[in-house]
């Protein structure tokens, strides 16, 4: 009892003293040589000047906590907390960042314990000159296995904590929706896929906020629907993959795996509503996936692997490929291996090209094509000028996947399971002009302890330079309206003969006569 009373008295005295000090900081604090433990880990990183406050929890034992955030210029921020949860005022934070572009921000933490204040060594983070795109769009889902029930496509503002649901799968009568892709980061032109028993398996095209479901399967290219897509910079073409994926389980390590039985690439011509392809990107003897247009639209990057039976799933490794393309004449070049999986001794998937076209970031994993399910997956970059690649120094012992670039090419966003080994979270890393990535930081949340009970997975995050204008209701109506549906005319015939080196059950194809293509 006495002890408690003494503690309260001390608290009151301390509080009065802090108020009296004017700056709100304890002055007689004992110095601690090391920085404090904080969660999330916002230490020694580079942050964009337009990021939301890096709220954090001080993981040191104590009865009272003060965080003092200062920069080269601008007013310092002092946040006091009884619980150790430091919630930084948004306006003060924005002002401080604006004053300190290219400078260091210092976070000094004071902890009151054992009847006196302790001052920890300052944590330092650098504010970059370059901003990050204003919005992040991701698919909200639980860590799932075979079945799914509820998904949302969610938009998060990066300079605040505001989130809005773009599309709820309940509003399209259930089913799956995935792989939203924007044209050059602008949200008025986008695609995503729907898998619904009621509304089919279309690729949904949004152009100037008009929704058009496109049933790519009617072209005869594949019975599988479009999956991973990439907008040509001109906005006239969409490269897409068709994949025959199925999940499976391991009994050791990461539980879920995913098998791609067959995949090919094709291109959808938006204005003409037709699908074309080329043997270079849909070789019947290989699996091609993960299309990504170069910044100038003259090359298509993708991953390609030989067809092997399912029992040899550990031997399936994808090469990183590129193929030239002339969008005017629609002529394809020959596919070229940029990085051979045999030489790299890993499977190279999920390539994304930087906006200046100089870098390609991709995932390298032990085998397979879905990096998010593979603990071994790490991030690498390829310099397109030199043709050399190197591992980024931002990898963890857990899976890194879904990399992408900010519109200015200075930020890499990716998903990592490093926090707990199971749930995917979004991280940002500053990518400097020398091709080096800096220590990444996790997407900030208003509640510093948010990730302690966040059992959701951030899937397929994409950066956008503006908020999505179209409402969820309009998106859903567009999908559900059969009158807006497009069905590209048949442009391919399934070949009767199968190539000798193709695995059994895989279909080959050949384009049909040109006249049927011109009919539209």
């Amino acid at each position: 009892m006495m002890r408690r009373a003494t503690r309260y008295c001390l608290h009151i005295t301390t509080f009065i003293w802090i108020i009296g000090c004017g700056s709100g900081l304890p002055t007689d604090a004992r110095q601690i040589a090391q920085p404090p433990q904080i969660s999330p880990d916002y230490t020694g990183t580079v942050i964009p000047p337009n990021i939301a406050p890096l709220n954090f929890a001080i993981e040191e034992k104590g009865d009272d906590f003060v965080a003092h955030i200062t920069g080269y210029a601008g007013d310092a921020i002092v946040v006091r907390s009884r619980t150790g949860d430091i919630r930084i005022p948004e306006d003060d934070w924005k002002t401080l960042l604006a004053h300190n572009k290219g400078k260091i921000l210092s976070f000094v933490v004071y902890v009151f314990k054992q009847h006196r204040w302790h001052r920890f060594k300052a944590i330092q983070n650098r504010v970059a000159e370059e901003s990050i795109d204003s919005h992040l769009v991701y698919r909200w889902m639980r860590s799932l296995h075979h079945f799914h029930e509820r998904f949302y496509i969610v938009e998060r503002s990066l300079d605040s904590f505001h989130e809005k649901t773009v599309l709820d799968n309940k509003s399209i009568g259930g089913g799956c929706m995935n792989c939203h892709t924007f044209l050059n980061g602008h949200t008025d032109t986008m695609t995503y896929q729907i898998r619904s028993s009621e509304f089919g398996l279309p690729m949904v095209l949004v152009q100037e906020n008009t929704v058009t479901p496109v049933n790519t399967r009617t072209a005869g290219f594949s019975t599988s629907p479009a999956a991973f897509t990439s907008w040509h910079p001109s906005g006239e073409l969409i490269a897409f993959s068709v994949n025959k994926v199925s999940p499976f389980e391991h009994t050791v390590g990461q539980t879920r795996g995913e098998w791609d039985d067959n995949s090919d690439l094709a291109v959808y011509h938006v204005a003409e509503n037709r699908v074309t392809s080329n043997l270079g990107i849909s070789d019947p003897s290989r699996r091609e996936s993960w299309p990504a247009w170069s910044a100038d639209g003259k090359r298509l990057y993708f991953s390609s692997a030989p067809k092997l039976p399912r029992t040899e799933f550990r031997k399936v490794r994808y090469d990183l490929m590129q193929i030239s393309f002339d969008s005017e004449s629609e002529e394809w070049g020959s596919p070229q291996v940029l990085i051979s999986s045999d030489e790299a001794e890993m499977s190279l998937v999920e390539p994304r090209v930087s906006p200046d076209g100089k870098w390609v970031v991709f995932c390298g994993c032990e085998y397979g094509h879905m990096a998010c399910f593979l603990k071994s997956s790490d991030l690498y970059v390829l310099n397109t000028d030199t043709g050399k690649h190197h591992e980024l120094n931002i990898n963890s012992r857990f899976s890194e996947s879904w990399p992408s670039w900010s519109s200015n090419g200075r930020w890499i966003m990716f998903v990592s399971k490093r926090r707990d080994g199971l749930m995917s979270h979004v991280y940002f890393s500053y990518f400097d002009k020398n091709g080096q990535a800096h220590k990444p930081f996790i997407l900030p949340q208003e509640d510093p302890r948010y990730y302690d009970s966040c059992a959701k997975t951030y899937n397929r995050p994409e950066l956008a330079v503006e908020p999505i204008q179209i409402t969820g209701s309009d998106l859903a109506k567009g999908i559900c309206n059969p009158e807006t549906k497009r069905e590209p005319p048949k442009a391919f015939d399934r070949a009767v003969t199968k190539p000798s080196n193709a695995a059994s059950g895989n279909e080959s194809w050949r384009p049909v006569a040109e006249k049927s293509r011109g009919a539209h």
Binding site: K170, E198, F199, S453
Partner: protein, 612 residues
């Protein structure tokens, strides 16, 4: 001028008033106790629970669709069932709202006959026990409350009533979904009977139909039927339309009409209505007692399994053998294993010849309720932790963030050496109604570094975890064999494997493995194994290899009797079933002969002669 002094109330009148006052206290109390007794709240919680988390991220999606707010409330109520007195009080409050609002509505049409006002609440109670969830009940109560407000404003001008209806109906359509149609119906009757406003009555009906449509502009729902009828008996996602549910909805307009007529035709009609109500109450009481104590409840076995009430599960399976399914047989075997009776008494309970019983394999079972729970449970205890993880995640998908599933994920992640992921699931668990205290203890253990010690079965399961990555489509036999190979001391894998051999009639592999009983501490051959050994000896002419425990003479003699009896009836399998069942219905030989234990109903017999 002289003023008349009012007569003092007579003694009889005062007494009557006193009795009425006492009844106002006693009757609700009795009703509350009745609810408490007639509902098995823990069972109800298990059968009807919906996830609920005290978390804005969880609640926010409910606000995005029609009837979402009531749906959210209903989810919370189903979680409160775990505390029976709280559950009873919540239901009592909901039914009380229905009763009082019905009374208010009926009074605006005249003096309602006694008991009539109670009818919707009582029928609602009956339906809640058997057919409906608390979601439509809560929605019904909300809609009636709004209707009561509308009917109480009968002295207000027409324009005011119209505006009031518009506001309240939009509100009701959003909060309570399709029950806005009920509100529109009551308000229309109010206009028609109390105000003689046919035009306004017709307008209310049209507006009632239009408002859900207009709401669809803001809260899009592709399924128009769902938009109109969510939270009503006509909701398309309801598995079946029960006529009682429709009657329940029709009761309100019917009672209004009855009230109007009763007021005109007193007292004969009044009496008839009262007698009718009393008969309905009596019938409902009988039906509820029957349902509570004498009827088979499909989810009861799952409930016992989930709560590890193994003896209760076994007793229940034997009490209702005619209702046995593959799930029942699965739970029976699980319960027998936990009570250490599987090798002895497995044929004393409902069993089918099916290779899928023990692990519930096969995609066609995926859609059955609680299959994910059972699979998660059995794989977890077998040490097949990745499969357990998969099925626990499927549980979350099909049933949402339920406390016990989250608890299982904490354990799984601890065993998979992902303590931080375990901490995340404990963090979610902390937001549940049912497991918040357990979660707090787990979080404290995480912070102290003693999380693994705080998981009950972790020490037992850790040595059972496979070290080989088995990827592929495996049969039940393969999985059990792999588990036993990975951990030869895995008792559950051994007993399940032997049970699998017996259930599928794989005597050859049974004989090859039965000698391992000694490794698990058996000094005598367990009864079911011993019976199978006799069959093995008969089939092969020799003892099972390496088995140095002798089959008891008693069992050999028993088999001789079985053979003798079978020979007498072998011409007709039905006769054989009837003759063998009393003495041998619980033996391996009987099961092997008929593909099911004697406790079950006989199979469809053909006349073909078969030998045991």
């Amino acid at each position: 001028m002289t003023t008349k002094r009012p007569h003092p109330p007579s003694i009889a009148h005062q007494k009557r008033k006193g009795v009425h006052r006492a009844l106002y206290i006693v009757l609700p109390l009795l009703a509350f106790l009745y609810i408490r007794v007639m509902f098995d709240f823990r069972q109800l919680h298990h059968d009807r629970r919906r996830p609920f988390l005290f978390d804005t991220e969880f609640i926010e999606p409910f606000l995005r669709y029609v009837a979402g707010p009531v749906d959210c409330l209903a989810s919370l109520i189903t979680q409160l069932y775990i505390y029976p007195w709280v559950g009873a009080l919540t239901l009592f409050t909901l039914l009380g709202i229905i009763y009082f609002t019905t009374r208010v509505i009926l009074r605006s049409f005249g003096q309602p006959p006694r008991f009539v006002s109670m009818l919707p609440a009582v029928v609602g109670l009956f339906l809640l026990q058997q057919h409906i969830t608390v979601f439509p009940l809560a929605s019904f109560a909300f809609s009636l409350s709004m209707a009561a407000v509308c009917t109480r404003c009968k002295s207000f001008p027409m324009v005011f009533r119209l505006v009031l209806f518009l506001v309240l109906s939009a509100f009701t359509a959003y909060i309570g979904g399709g029950t806005v149609l009920l509100l529109a119906g009551i308000c229309a009757l109010n206009e028609l009977i109390n105000h003689r406003q046919r035009i306004l009555a017709t307008a209310f009906i049209f507006l009632g139909a239009f408002i859900p449509f207009a709401l669809g502009v803001f809260l899009y729902e592709p399924n128009r039927t769902l938009q109109y009828f969510i939270a009503t008996p006509l909701e398309p996602s309801s598995p079946e339309l029960h006529p009682f549910e429709l009657c329940w909805y029709a009761l309100i307009p019917l009672t209004i009409v009855a009230t109007v007529f009763a007021n005109r035709l007193r007292p004969l009609f009044h009496r008839a209505i009262q007698t009718f109500c009393i008969l309905i109450f009596a019938a409902i009481c009988i039906a509820m007692v029957n349902h509570r104590f004498y009827r088979y409840r499909p989810q009861a076995m799952n409930y016992y399994a989930e709560n590890e009430e193994w003896n209760a599960a076994l007793a229940y399976a034997n009490r209702f053998p005619s209702e046995a399914t593959i799930i029942t047989a699965h739970i029976v075997n699980h319960a027998l294993y936990h009570t250490e009776r599987l090798p002895h008494d497995m044929f004393d309970y409902p069993q089918f010849r099916s290779g899928r019983v023990l692990l519930l394999g096969g995609n066609e079972l995926d859609s059955l309720p609680h299959v994910a729970n059972r699979r998660s449970d059995v794989y977890y205890r077998l040490g097949r932790i990745d499969q357990a993880e998969r099925w626990t995640h499927e549980m979350l998908t099909s049933q949402g963030f339920l406390g016990h599933a989250l608890h299982r994920l904490v354990a799984i992640n601890v065993l998979k050496d992902r303590p931080k992921a375990a901490r995340v699931y404990a963090g979610v668990m902390e937001k549940t109604v049912t497991h918040c205290e357990t979660a707090a203890a787990l979080i404290a253990a995480f912070q102290n570094g003693t999380l693994e010690r705080s998981i009950q079965e972790a020490n037992r399961i850790r040595p059972l975890l496979p070290k080989t990555d088995y990827v592929g489509e495996w049969t039940t036999r393969d999985i059990l064999f792999q588990q036993l190979q990975e951990a030869p001391a895995n008792r559950m894998a051994f007993e399940y494997l032997m049970a699998q051999f017996l259930i599928t009639g794989n005597l050859k592999e049974f004989g090859q493995n039965v000698h391992r009983v000694k490794e698990f501490g058996y000094r005598e051959i367990p009864r079911a194994y011993e019976e199978a050994c006799v069959s093995y000896i008969l089939a092969t002419g020799k003892q099972p290899p390496n088995l140095d425990i002798k089959v008891q003479q008693y069992t050999i003699q028993k088999f001789a009797r079985f053979q003798e009896l079978y020979r007498q009836h072998h011409q007709n399998r039905r006769d054989a079933w009837e003759a063998l069942k009393p003495e041998f219905g619980n033996t391996y030989w009987f099961f092997d002969l008929f593909g099911r234990t004697g406790l079950l109903s006989p199979p469809d017999f053909d006349t073909k002669e078969t030998s045991p």
